[in-house]
């Protein structure tokens, strides 16, 4: 029983890594008043760019860097559309997602699958500090030990974080106080996109070591839900990520039990998504949206 528990906790941490990273990215973005529905696409794009570069250069690090660059570029385009032009954020974000997915599927076809093959790399190996729980990918350690405290510090302790929150709550007041609204939002969106790119790169470079169509599989949408579930705080966001990952890891274990052999595994796969919706139903009422959520800012 201990083994199963340890196994569940261990795989929960693995499952939670891309979710936590992406949700942190979305959190930074939304704190500036911008909803980035491009999250699923940015993860998809960096998952592909990461593994494609790693396969071409033979270096996982180069893949990671390229994935981050792709995330930054996608973030920049999204920021131009939503901040500079003030395009509807739902439309721009979803457009970004569809663009990245179709772009990567096309590129994947051209580069790797045209002759029936598949891109493959030797993924990162878990680093073992003893026991299954402490045998994790370096990016998992980095996520919980570095990224989480960093985002907390960035948003709530740093000067930039104060600007981001000010711009997200009341852009007019921030503008009067001399804070560049557009500049701050660009910064927040790009930092956010970098975290989303880390999440995407983790999926291909650590998790699976290959790329298949639909590899992100709604993780971006789950991360989006986690931000609302977390009421834009890091602590609650992590609780949400932990709950989701436990349900997910639990269903993976359930599938191995003989008494669940007759339950179609697709039903179990759907459970985590339904759990998120239930979580939102319980915890998503009267949530404190950032004051300028979805509203473009123009000084006129």
């Amino acid at each position: 029983m201990i083994d199963v528990t340890e196994e569940i906790i261990s795989s929960s941490l693995r499952i939670a890594t891309p979710l936590a990273l992406a949700a942190l990215g979305e959190l930074v973005t939304e704190k500036s008043g911008v909803l980035n529905l491009g999250i699923e696409g940015i993860m998809y794009g960096s998952a592909f760019v990461g593994i494609a570069t790693a396969a071409q250069t033979g270096s996982l690090t180069a893949g990671l860097v390229a994935a981050l660059v792709s995330g930054a570029i996608a973030g920049l385009i999204f920021a131009f559309a939503t901040v500079t032009l003030g395009v509807n954020q739902h439309v721009a974000g979803l457009g970004m997602t569809l663009l990245m997915i179709s772009l990567c599927n096309t590129a994947n076809r051209i580069m790797f699958t045209a002759d029936g093959g598949q891109v493959r790399v030797d993924p990162w190996k878990p680093i073992n500090f003893g026991g299954p729980i402490f045998s994790q990918y370096w990016l998992t350690y980095a996520t919980f030990l570095v990224a989480v405290p960093f985002v907390w510090w960035l948003l709530w302790k740093s000067g930039l974080g104060l600007k981001i929150r000010a711009v997200g709550e009341n852009p007019e007041a921030a503008d009067v106080a001399g804070v560049g609204v557009a500049k701050t939002r660009y910064t927040a969106i790009i930092i956010g996109a970098l975290f989303m790119a880390l999440a995407g790169a983790f999926i291909t470079l650590a998790f699976v070591g290959t790329f298949t169509v639909n590899i992100v599989n709604g993780r971006g949408w789950v991360a989006l839900a986690l931000v609302i579930f977390g009421r834009w705080t890091i602590g609650r966001l992590l609780v949400g990520a932990a709950l989701f990952s436990l349900v997910n890891a639990g269903q993976l274990q359930l599938r191995l039990l003989p008494s669940f052999a007759d339950v179609p595994f697709e039903i179990l796969l759907a459970l985590p998504f339904l759990a998120v919706i239930v979580g939102l139903a319980i915890s998503g009422r009267n949530v404190p949206y950032p004051g300028s959520y979805l509203k473009p800012y123009k000084r006129l």
Binding site: L35, L37, I77, A81, T84, L85, G86, V87, N88, H90, V91, A92, L94, G95, M96, L98, L99, I101, S102, L103, N105, T106, R109, I110, A114, D175, V176, G178, N217, G218, W221, V222, L224, A225, I228, P264, F265, E266, I267, L269, A270, F273, L274, V276, I277, L280, A281, G284, R285, N286, K298, L300
Partner: protein, 358 residues
């Protein structure tokens, strides 16, 4: 020098079409680059994609066929967005519609066609509306953002289909994960002889017409638009905002589900995991490019039908990936949406820094 966008006092009539034209050219340019990369010749490929489907009867009718599901999802998204209900779950609602339709199709053997066809369409519509019900209730009763919940239900619908096809609905002859072929009595009529164009297209046009008439001409439609434009004002004016949103969401889901039934009963005749080629998400592009106008959505859907068929024929003839069709649609969305905003602004180059009072 610093560039800044300033709102135009008046927009000359030609700027809109001009910028949309520029956006279209930019899209063609980007697709040409991708085609070149894939090792194809760009100019013939562009001709294959955008023009050749219109030059043959086969290409034209296949384009109509490809446009059919997009007519439904485009209408579904447009009516929801008009009410300010951000339903991004048309994908899942369409898939739910295919489940309902297949269920009827597999059990309707003894019925006459005049009963079977309405039944399969009704089932699709009901299942689509049912799939939209949970997010709609969460939004209207508890105030939970529908964007996230509708999005999250899309992969769930696909998982249920996969589960059904690997389990109870596995093909009884081949053993493959496709359902059996539905009963003849539930297959839709072919409305253009010797082609695959089916009754679903006519139905889609009727749905578009009804949406246009209801939203544009009826008092209920006026309420819907008021709720979409200014929910707080509508609430103060005594309009039943929540009820309007709930009903619109269900209608939107029902239309998407009807599109799913039309695919099953009209052309596929069986359920497969690939039944929806991103129809729901593409519906968002269709509705947005049409500026949420229903007639516009019909035209954009037809255009996308041409691009879909064109990208497949370009793919066959020039050995470039057929995925390029979806890429073109996504690029077109982003460039056109940006162009529509840009036309309202002019660029001001200022050398002076704007003073901010301390």
């Amino acid at each position: 020098m610093k560039a800044r966008f300033a709102l135009r006092a008046s927009t000359p009539w030609w700027r809109g079409p001009l910028l949309v034209g520029v956006a279209a050219l930019l899209t063609i340019l980007i697709s040409a680059i991708m085609i070149r990369w894939a090792g194809g010749a760009p100019i013939p490929a562009v001709r294959y994609m955008f023009i050749s489907p219109l030059q043959s009867r086969f290409g034209f009718t296949e384009s109509l066929l490809s446009a059919t599901p997009l007519v439904f999802t485009g209408a579904a998204v447009a009516i929801a967005f008009r009410a300010g209900y951000w339903n991004i779950g048309a994908e899942g609602q369409l898939l739910a519609g295919t489940i309902g339709a297949t269920w009827v199709g597999l059990h309707a053997e003894p019925l006459p066609r005049i009963v079977g066809v309405p039944l399969i369409l009704l089932a699709g519509m009901l299942f689509g509306a049912l799939w939209a019900l949970t997010p709609a209730l969460l939004r209207t009763r508890l105030g939970i953002d529908e964007v996230v919940t509708t999005l999250l239900l899309n992969p769930v619908a696909l998982l249920i289909i996969t589960g059904l096809l690997n389990g109870p609905w596995r093909n009884s002859e081949s053993g493959f994960p496709d359902s059996d072929v539905i009963a003849d009595s539930t297959k839709l009529w072919i409305i253009w002889p010797n082609t695959r164009v089916h009754f679903g297209l006519a139905l889609g046009v009727v749905v578009i017409g009804l949406c246009w008439w209801f939203v544009g001409k009826m008092s209920g439609g006026l309420k819907l638009r008021a709720v979409g434009l200014a929910p707080n004002a509508a609430r103060i004016a005594g309009l039943p905002v929540e009820r309007t949103l709930l009903i619109t969401a269900l209608v939107s889901g029902g239309i998407a589900g009807l599109g799913g039934a039309s695919e099953i009963a009209g052309v596929a005749h069986q359920l497969t995991t690939g039944i929806s080629n991103n129809f729901g998400y593409t519906g968002v592009i269709v509705a947005t490019l049409a500026s949420l106008s229903f007639i516009g959505a019909l035209l954009v859907a037809l255009m996308f039908g041409v691009i879909t068929v064109g990208s497949f024929s370009a793919s066959r003839a020039l050995e470039i990936p057929s995925q390029i069709g979806q890429l073109v649609q996504a690029v077109l969305l982003i460039t056109v949406v940006c162009a529509l905003v840009i036309q309202k602004y002019r660029v001001v180059w200022s050398t002076k820094k704007i003073e901010v009072s301390k």
